[in-house]
Symmetry: C2
């Protein structure tokens, strides 16, 4: 499947507001068929993950960023449904601890990067250090610009050392967020997820869109591209993400390790 | 479902060899029905895990120990199929690194214990430090006995601090292991898993059964019981484990967190 339309080309002029949040191109008007396709992708991902683990050579890092309610948690649950939890790790980055703050901003992130054969999903990431920090004025424009460069250098280093990096921005509209927040507020089993402080970042929506536009423009690179994932429709979102991940894994041209020499002659007593 | 038959009572005389490896009691002669039941358990586990995560109060630690090929990896893949990878972590303990060896034997294990709301599965564990070490004579009987006590103290500490601990020994026969090793040797996609060094521990089968008997007798406690899981049949194995885990989680009497005060009046603009 062609997911190039969602990939941000390095150095190209880019504005987040020019991307559609409600695009449903991959569903193509046929929900049932799209569900079947998603299930096929799940099976494909399961096999590719097993191969990645067996080969033990490559590392896959998936960075998820988004406004609240855009579906980071649900993406992890739905796209990775059935994939062996032994080979997939999720690292969630919340407000930094005192110890984390006493280190550079890449320190806690580097510690969680994937080992050979592993998939690691960052639920939020080092990008918070050029987003929430910038929107609230905790860092100035120069520091922010310096950090873009530091992030690019860091990600290139990871790539040079065998890590495939996919960065996904889950793109929802402000109206869609409103609906989802109201649903959380009014559904008993979802109320625990309602955090009144989410409303603060909602009030800064425009500033966030600008900060994301700046950060993505500055850090979508050949070795660590950003994808803008239309996320008003969960089905479209899951289809785009599953395709991007499966394609990236297939590009690695992996193979099962060769059996040890003379395996067939080994006796089991 | 009654899984008490598989639980080792503290202080009771126990011999591993008296437990059946090919028991299929939970299948009860009807494989199709057993599959349906397993699927129902999977759905139940998924809901319980979400509740554990939402409540964010309890911690669940599952210790898996077994001889090679007994199904530790496959248990993780099959029992936790579909459970949100965000709330389930797997920690695999292999031969210790130089840094790990320079610390006490519980150091690397403690670092991986679950946080509130998490399930952590130990694929091998601190028990290797009273098993492989004892069978090969790297530690003497006194050191081993001291370690049983240290393990009990450590696990009681974890339990006192909100951790539910389930320890599962996957019990296969020596004949069953032979069949599985031969299958690995002769199936192209499984050959990478065949490790000739597994044959060394197979040759020490009797010593291992004794070491497991000793360790389990000394460390099956009220706060951290051992279960002997018949594992010649994968279906029986998965049924026993799924039941043990679901029952333990249900015993926690969890509930979704209360919504914040005045939630219904919060406006989303």
């Amino acid at each position: 499947m062609n997911t190039k339309a969602y990939k941000i080309k390095p150095g190209k002029k880019f504005k987040l507001s020019q991307f559609e949040t409600s695009d449903k191109a991959l569903i193509n008007g046929d929900k049932n068929n799209a569900q079947v396709e998603l299930e096929a992708l799940r099976v494909r991902l399961e096999a590719l993950q097993e191969l990645l683990y067996a080969e033990g050579k490559h590392k896959l890092l998936i960075v998820l960023q988004a406004m609240d309610t855009a579906g980071k948690d649900s993406t992890i649950r739905m796209v990775f449904d059935g994939v062996n939890p032994q080979g997939v790790k999720v690292a969630s980055f919340k407000a930094p601890t005192a110890e984390e703050l006493a280190h550079d901003f890449l320190w806690r992130v580097h510690a969680k990067t994937p080992a050979k054969g592993e998939i690691v999903i960052f639920n939020r990431s080092h990008y918070e250090d050029v987003l929430i920090t910038r929107v609230n004025g905790w860092i100035d424009a120069d520091t922010c610009k310096a950090r873009y460069q530091q992030i690019n250098d860091f990600e290139r280093f990871l790539a040079e050392n065998g890590t495939t990096i996919l960065k996904l921005y889950l793109h929802i509209s402000k109206d869609e967020q409103k609906e989802r927040l109201l649903e959380r507020r009014d559904t008993p089993r979802k109320q625990w997820k309602f955090n009144p402080s989410d409303l603060a970042s909602r009030a800064q929506w425009g500033d966030y869109m600008q900060a994301y536009t700046d950060a993505i423009s500055a850090t979508s690179t050949e070795h660590a591209p950003w994808y803008i994932v239309p996320a008003n429709s969960k089905l479209q979102r899951n289809l785009v993400i599953s395709n991007v991940i499966c394609d990236a894994l297939e590009n690695l041209k992996m193979d099962y390790p060769k059996a040890v020499e003379g395996l067939e002659k080994i006796m089991v007593k």
